[in-house]
């Protein structure tokens, strides 16, 4: 069994499901002959042919609307937006149609579409290529928003997303695409949606995070353990709908929590998580809940980019603050 990167795990999942289910279509700009600008769809055109791997004209709203029409008509499109910064023209199709066609037809029609896109900062790209606006989609009823953080979870969650009968926004953390390798069995086993993953068990503080920030969070947890502070790390994975049960259980155990996300602070998904903790787990808290996030700024260009992304140090400092409350 090979060790593969996160982006290769995406390819592996796509190839598996396209083989298993002839209704799965891959579409997007440069996904066919070029294999995708990050090679996420490499080899699929050769294997499945041009009726199933579509190089679309350059029009994002078109990609969104076509995918809706196809999904309603019995296909399972996996549509790529080349970068999250370019998903916005399709937001009308996603919010006004994909999210609500099941509801407005009382279940007569449904939209089993996956919109996947590289997201997040940290690849020294030009502007607009570093977006983390998952909160926009997390706010929309009828959608699911899923963000993997490892090759194994990218594989398992993408399979689950494709198989799910409702629309899924699948945000791939671009700076983790080739960051490291992991053994991922190509056995077609999906991971569950709507569920958190506990990556590290601990008693002293709960660190709640997703996407690329899992990397910094695990590193911070490792460093904290050397000081005798044991952090529990939860990868939320499905940002909408949230698995608050796992989060509550952890916060009730540790009494301290920090949400870590790359997206800007205000009205980020961290706000939703903390609001629910304040309402339902307040009496277990030994210290105020904190959020360590990107700043309320536009993601800076490459020269300052690394100062925007929350660092291990910011996470560790926050944990120290919480521990001082006793």
């Amino acid at each position: 069994m090979a060790e593969i990167t996160l982006v290769e795990a995406v390819t592996q999942a796509l190839a598996y499901e396209m083989q298993a289910d002839p209704s799965v279509i891959v579409m997007g700009e440069d996904v066919g002959k070029n294999g995708g600008v990050f090679r996420a769809t490499v080899g699929l055109l050769d294997q499945f042919g041009p009726t199933r791997v579509l190089d679309t004209p350059l029009a994002e709203s078109m990609i969104g609307g076509l995918a809706v029409g196809m999904a309603v008509s019995g296909l399972k499109p996996v549509a790529e937006f080349q970068f999250m910064g370019f998903i916005y023209p399709a937001v009308d199709q996603i919010i006004n149609h994909a999210s609500r066609i099941r509801n407005r037809t009382r279940g007569r029609m449904s939209c089993p579409v996956v919109f996947r896109t590289p997201s997040g900062a940290g690849i020294h790209a030009p502007e607009h290529h570093s977006e983390s606006t998952e909160a926009l989609f997390a706010h929309i009823p009828g959608l699911r928003v899923v963000i993997p953080s490892s090759p194994a979870r990218a594989y398992g969650l993408l399979l689950a997303a494709i198989r799910d009968p409702d629309p899924v926004i699948f945000l791939e953390p671009s700076r983790l695409y080739r960051y490291a390798k992991q053994e991922v069995k190509n056995d077609g086993k999906a991971l569950p949606l709507d569920t958190c993953f506990t990556l590290r068990v601990g008693e002293d503080v709960t660190l709640i995070t997703w996407g690329a920030m899992v990397k910094e969070t695990l590193a911070a947890a490792h460093q904290l353990s050397e000081e005798g502070i044991n952090a529990e790390v939860i990868d939320v994975a499905t940002i909408k709908p949230l698995d608050m049960e796992t989060i509550f259980a952890s916060v009730e155990k540790t009494g301290r929590c920090i949400v870590i996300h790359e997206a800007p602070l205000s009205c980020g998904v961290g706000a939703e998580i903390v609001a629910q903790i304040a309402q339902k787990a307040l009496f277990s808290l030994k210290a105020p809940p904190e959020r360590i996030t990107g700043f309320d700024t536009i993601v800076p260009y490459a020269k300052l980019e690394k100062y925007y992304i929350p660092s291990e140090k910011r996470i560790i400092d926050a944990v120290h603050r919480l521990m001082e409350f006793a």
Binding site: G122, A180, F197, A249, L282
Partner: protein, 373 residues
């Protein structure tokens, strides 16, 4: 990159074995150039190249069996172009292994969790150096309120630091200190005292055994005292059997072994048990099971000295009878002065669970039994 999958080499063959490679990684090949010699069930055939390009990978060694449809050779058809694998930016790329231990889907099994307390209670507790796990919660669903913390604080004696060398309490002395403090916080005690006239008891009567029997009789008269009480849930359980915990003085401190089902035992049995417990107490050989399940308590401090007392009872029990030292005394009988013998009795009950009337009637029953009625 192009992957060449092993074609069906003849009439539905499922696999073939690599006999020899004609090319190696890095070779430039032309279309139709033979790549390998493959042996099938029927023949040995040369497999020609479907593409022109550079060999990037061979998917097997000599003697490996390749299934039809499985990858055989990967070609680099990029005409020497290095795949940057991106269109903008630079991705961090490495052979690093993904650093992650065991992943639990959902929640790690949580331990019992920490206490639930209102934030204001936590702040107060921290300021006043109070351990929240010792505070009794009265808020909804077991929540500690600031008032609970205040109550706890007011019930604590101001701590005095002991000077010089001190001795930490261990074992049953330690348990006694904690149990008595908790009892003080929880119960609402009231003590009623009186004397039993035991002048007319035959000489040689085993008074202790008689007291035990008297307590059984009293328990039948007033079952409310032979009970357990839960102050949090406001529930009580009346017991049929009468299990009497007898306070026994041991070298290390106070022990309370339990004589179970006193109502069923003969006088001899009772005496044997009392003696057995006294002996076991001095060598700490009383079994834990024999220390549990008391429904009433007896403190026979009069074997040493003392008349009346306010004995302390331990929850969940609601009654403890204290027996002082019997004494000869001048007393009136039918208008005459006689010398009689009195046994002083002190009954403490938990007034949350027992009324004054129930307590008094219980004591009366004890006295009547002792006095031979």
């Amino acid at each position: 990159m192009k992957i060449f999958h092993l074609p069906d080499l003849g009439e539905g063959l499922a696999e073939a074995e690599i006999r020899e490679w004609y090319v190696k990684v890095g070779d430039e090949v032309k279309v139709d150039q033979p790549l390998a010699s493959m042996e099938t069930a029927k023949a040995v055939v040369d497999v020609p190249s479907p593409y022109a390009g550079k060999i990037a990978e061979l998917h097997g060694k000599v003697n490996d069996i390749i299934k039809t449809g499985a990858p055989l050779v990967t070609f680099d058809t990029g005409e020497g172009i290095v795949d940057k694998g991106s269109v903008v930016g630079k991705l961090e790329t490495s052979e690093k292994k993904w650093d992650e231990g065991e992943v639990i889907i959902g929640s790690a099994k949580a331990s019992s969790g920490n206490v639930k307390a209102m934030p204001a209670a936590r702040v107060l507790a921290k300021q006043m150096n109070v351990d929240l796990s010792l505070v009794t919660p009265t808020g909804p669903q077991g929540l500690i309120t600031p008032d609970d913390v205040k109550k706890f604080i007011s019930q604590q004696a101001p701590t005095v630091s002991l000077p010089g060398e001190t001795e930490a309490l261990h074992g049953i002395r330690r348990v006694m200190a904690q149990a008595m403090a908790q009892s003080h916080l929880d119960i609402v005690p009231v003590t009623i005292v009186d004397d039993a006239d035991i002048t007319d008891l035959p000489p040689g009567t085993d008074v202790t055994v008689r007291i035990l029997k008297a307590m059984v009789a009293a328990a039948r008269a007033e079952p409310a005292l032979n009970a357990w009480f839960d102050g949090k849930k406001l529930e009580r359980k009346l017991w049929e059997e009468v299990n009497i915990g007898m306070a026994v003085d041991a070298p290390e401190g106070l022990l309370v072994p339990v004589i179970k089902q006193v109502e069923k035992r003969s006088d001899e049995e009772l005496r044997q048990l009392i003696d057995k417990y006294k002996k076991s107490a001095s060598d700490r050989s009383i079994a834990p099971a024999d220390m549990q399940g008391a429904t009433l308590m007896l403190s026979n401090f009069g074997t040493i000295i003392g008349r009346y007392a306010t004995p302390i009872l331990l929850p969940p029990m609601v009654a403890i009878l204290g027996c002082g030292r019997s004494r000869e005394t001048v007393m009136p009988r039918q208008g005459q002065m006689v010398i009689g013998r009195l046994l002083p009795l002190s009954l403490t009950v938990d007034h949350r669970a027992v009324t004054g009337g129930e307590a008094a009637r219980f004591l009366r029953a004890v006295i009547q039994h002792l006095q031979g009625k």
